[in-house]
Symmetry: D2
Subunit: 405 residues, 4 copies
Amino acid sequence: MSSVNKVVLAYSGGLDTSVIVRWLQETYGCEVVTFTADIGQGEEVEPARAKAEALGVKEIYIDDLREEFARDYVFPMFRANAIYEGEYLLGTSIARPLIAKRLIEIANETGADAISHGATGKGNDQVRFELGAYALKPGVKVIAPWREWDLTSRETLMAYCEKHNIPVDFNKKKKSPYSMDANLLHISYEGGVLEEPWAEAEEDMWRWSVSPENAPDAPEYIEVSFEKGDIVAINGEAMSPATVMETLNTLGGKHGIGRLDIVENRYVGMKSRGCYETPAGTIMIKAHRAIESITLDREVAHLKDSLMPKYAELVYNGYWWSPERIMLQKAIDESQTNVNGDVRLKLYKGSVSAVGRRSEQSLFDEKIATFEDDAGAYDQKDAEGFIKLNALRMRIAAQKGRKLF
Amino acid sequence: MSSVNKVVLAYSGGLDTSVIVRWLQETYGCEVVTFTADIGQGEEVEPARAKAEALGVKEIYIDDLREEFARDYVFPMFRANAIYEGEYLLGTSIARPLIAKRLIEIANETGADAISHGATGKGNDQVRFELGAYALKPGVKVIAPWREWDLTSRETLMAYCEKHNIPVDFNKKKKSPYSMDANLLHISYEGGVLEEPWAEAEEDMWRWSVSPENAPDAPEYIEVSFEKGDIVAINGEAMSPATVMETLNTLGGKHGIGRLDIVENRYVGMKSRGCYETPAGTIMIKAHRAIESITLDREVAHLKDSLMPKYAELVYNGYWWSPERIMLQKAIDESQTNVNGDVRLKLYKGSVSAVGRRSEQSLFDEKIATFEDDAGAYDQKDAEGFIKLNALRMRIAAQKGRKLF
Amino acid sequence: MSSVNKVVLAYSGGLDTSVIVRWLQETYGCEVVTFTADIGQGEEVEPARAKAEALGVKEIYIDDLREEFARDYVFPMFRANAIYEGEYLLGTSIARPLIAKRLIEIANETGADAISHGATGKGNDQVRFELGAYALKPGVKVIAPWREWDLTSRETLMAYCEKHNIPVDFNKKKKSPYSMDANLLHISYEGGVLEEPWAEAEEDMWRWSVSPENAPDAPEYIEVSFEKGDIVAINGEAMSPATVMETLNTLGGKHGIGRLDIVENRYVGMKSRGCYETPAGTIMIKAHRAIESITLDREVAHLKDSLMPKYAELVYNGYWWSPERIMLQKAIDESQTNVNGDVRLKLYKGSVSAVGRRSEQSLFDEKIATFEDDAGAYDQKDAEGFIKLNALRMRIAAQKGRKLF
Amino acid sequence: MSSVNKVVLAYSGGLDTSVIVRWLQETYGCEVVTFTADIGQGEEVEPARAKAEALGVKEIYIDDLREEFARDYVFPMFRANAIYEGEYLLGTSIARPLIAKRLIEIANETGADAISHGATGKGNDQVRFELGAYALKPGVKVIAPWREWDLTSRETLMAYCEKHNIPVDFNKKKKSPYSMDANLLHISYEGGVLEEPWAEAEEDMWRWSVSPENAPDAPEYIEVSFEKGDIVAINGEAMSPATVMETLNTLGGKHGIGRLDIVENRYVGMKSRGCYETPAGTIMIKAHRAIESITLDREVAHLKDSLMPKYAELVYNGYWWSPERIMLQKAIDESQTNVNGDVRLKLYKGSVSAVGRRSEQSLFDEKIATFEDDAGAYDQKDAEGFIKLNALRMRIAAQKGRKLF
């Protein structure tokens, strides 16, 4: 075991990471710096201070990163319309690189030579934390207690707490049978009955949204405004990125929007069943597609669509802090220059529909698109040459005897 | 104008194509063969016979192509999870290659040297018909009256009818202000007030589905069963492809599922606003994604996702009958070998959710995925090496001074 | 025929475009502005002035665009390692957008409402000129005489010259049986005996390079230096982009480097046989790959390789002036930030080999790469976990009975 | 250390793998089965028998796999025109999956529960062997001595030999300072002075080819014939796949063809410098591109080019035995149905050029491609509509004020 002087720990204030504080102190004989961030998970972060102090931590970082998270991580990702495996809006994935970056910044500030986190050895989050950490501070030591220690059952963990005087009333929220993760973009559920993919998730699992059945019986219409691909106002009111997300989470949650139940492929190689509530994100991607539909050039839109699976995979797999993600982002951001305008949306019992879109940069041309007389804006005879030359290669092939079935 | 002896016309029995029959006879002095197909548009096709006879047509083809359409066109496309521009399920696009193929088969049977259709010079359908026709019969002459004639207003068309004794009561359905197209997969609406992208579609436009607001207040659960990526049974009852689609259209329509309102990019270069009802298709793609989620290898799934935009573009643009679509289909069909099993779905007020999935070919491994003790099925320590080698290139770069922000 | 007041013609000073001057004057009764550019084709452009004057042209533009061509067109394209269909370095394709841009700039300066060019209706160049022109000046009228007139044989053309007093001694270079095009990047040959793909090109066709057989018997070593992906010095001597290309053309031509004989697929739908001499380009792409090999991150390099075919297709098809090419260029240029350093090359009898490469931004790490003891820079045990997790999905599949053959 | 009963070792008969035999016997107390294959490396394999016997091995497999290697691995890969990072023809990569498959087959036949190989922990080969092994026999134990033992210097290895009576005259060929690997497709060199990427490889390193300087002063022309994308005859003489490769290796080697000197990116994360001789492969890919140029549809060719980097990456990274490689192969093989015909090649002092190509399935149409009068085979006026509709989206954008620079 290599020597460690000081380690920065991503600290939630919960039982598991409190155990980790003590375990790091014991095992590595090193100083622990805790870092707790508000990224919109909906729980107070300030209580983590007292808990860390009680564990003898001297350097305690508690940051409100909600605006940075929304502005520099969530919004750039939504410019790409990123969806993993056709369904997942990457709610957990996108928060990890921000945490990784702050861990490294704090390590640099405090002179720490290591970082640590509470992610398990089976999941994606360890990869996301650690790839980010290594990419930003290549000599950093990473300590992943769940891969090292033997506290792998609830019993051994409790025994450890008792032995080291760690108060177990930390553990209230853990009465949930699910492993959960939350931030401004989503709350996720794994484990418990979800480990049987045929079993339906129980209604009382969901925390952020009412069920569609319990949503209002009347639809609600909202209008969102975009600048360069980002939402900057809701119903005409300008808002910061984090406020946009909080507002849409409230609206979406009220109407039962954004629930998802999938089996996904983890980067570490196994399939896993996850349920997600992503109210704001579900509305955002629908709205973004709609504003792009009138402001993006067709080939730019198609190029974006062809790049998207790669981009989403990079984010999912933990390569936010990679030169290839940044290279793709340059192209995506370039595409958003004219993605300005308004989208009108209908929210109703679990669904969000785009019902109107307008933009001063719209490329929709009524004079050309119309089924009515277009006064010569488009010469229908051009279509003949267009088709004939596009068909030429296939006509030649057919003339030479090639068969298509 | 090159000489034409006999032309096969895609004949709906409606006013426009009836005018075309006469116009072809008049303009080209040629014999007209009519071809009318039931592809699930929901209208009787047999009445087209009398109308064609009244126009002096001697060779009249009326085919029920519903099963062929579902089995050989819709189902293969859904194996690819094809979606155009993130939203459109390609309902019109996928019907055209079948019509093109039958037009050419009939031309070959009847010794016709030309085909004709009623699609306008501004749309995608002319391209789809004609690319297919040229690819299958390279020397065929294509007559597209809407690109040639001067009957471009309702008045000139009516005058033509009067002059040539074409009964205009054909025209009942045309009281709709929308240009519509329907088949087993969808009904589409364009034109009218939709030409203003900011205007919401009127409720009475929609024909196949109730509004979510008017859908039942209780959700309905169904179970669909897959073999090699195709749905073969609903609620345990084996069904033919067309019956699967009819059944799901009924179920989806009842629950307000499958409405879509978008602005899309036509192949001929302009943007156009379209509304679509695709009840069965919306359910099918959700279910297919769900069964794939447990039966497809991760990298196969990701490769499919990366190929999908290209595949969807090919179908949209009219290249069904092309060697590149067939080449992609080979890969896609190969991927479906093990896509067998059942998906449980919840239908409720406009939404379809997957709530369970199971398969004898499932790759979901509870022993490995579990958050509980896995009895050594997975060695968490492997993750360290996995991460370290994946990070190596970025660590080297960072050590050599590369910055990521 | 719509009315035209003034037309800007891409004028080479040769017979064909001289005929076009007169034909435009006669046919459209319009004023003709000529534009002649030196893009490195190796012929004097100044003589075009007197010829244009003799044809009554009042506004004559003669530009030396060599540096702009090399700097803003050729070099950005080589950053992408663009190769069309595995072999073609896009020598003709990349010159057209520059000509199109200048035609439009001159049209704007002179108040012309049309442009014209001498490209045939069968080739790619018409597409490249016209897509560029329309993209930059959407209302411009394009006149493509070869698609309009009836001077389609040498005889009718000569008769036209005689009738209109156009001196046919213009025609000297046309004694070649080949259709040729030249600029700083290449000279191309089409037509004549090349129309038989089985026939070998005759040795006396080639103009820029000696045959490998006649090249020096001793190899020559050169060193090229890169900054941000562009060559900025040869053998330690700093040079402008055009001088880089001229120097490498001389060196490559001397050693018989850069000949290519292929059948390619034109955008307009047919296959065509072309021979090319691209001495500088052949050296440049080899050198660029070599400097990238030590300065690019692996995943950036692979992403570039996956985007390259699309980029090359865009350039070949005439979409330089398109938002999608520009979007890709942003990503490519981003990737070149650290592509600095030197490459040592061996030139010998038709071949160019990279024999050395070095860079202050090199990511090659001898300590890690060595087969000798690396003093712990790399822990070989990490490989086990790396392999095991990468294999996990396939192991699970095999355990569940999936077969791979 | 888990218990092992019997292990199948990929045994070359050289010193390193002989040490491994003994080390496996000592360390695991297990029986060792040796497997030695002739895959065209140019050394006798039969002597491995006596060496293995001397080490106490009872089950000895010695296979001639040359035809299987050429037919089922090299040829399918060349159908894809696979090149890694723009230059590398994957000579080592493609041999590993065959070895992996045989190791597993022999393990199944002999009841072995483990396999072993002599690849280091820093390279790609360990990954290729082990991914293949796990994919084909998920429960297999893999022993990679270089990752486990402490014989990491020449001295410790020699000491081990002395102690265990392993004759070190095995070691003759190891006088080379290079790490080499050879098979029908190539011979590779790594290590030694090559670890400095600026240093030129020494002439006496190369073993299979003369230097271009020493190649014959006269070019040699050959003709190769393809069926379904594979070479089946040379100069009219039908040959088996392995004989094709041996013949082309001789021809290419004689003319100095196929030397390559690159820095490549290993899957395990570092860059490495390698030199390769691939005489047959260099000729094969040139010839294959040429026959495809007249027999492949344009869009099929472009689709192949867009898939190629992914395919090459899969082979390089060791995923031959993966469902995604097989899925891609289906598409690639489909594309080769009509890739039949002859290519005429010129071999001269390090270069191979295609100078002629012909096929009964040729899609080259002289009547359409000609610059001479084509008697109406192609209507040049079609080009106008083709260009106008392709330009439409960009014209609309420009009319609405979008700028491209």
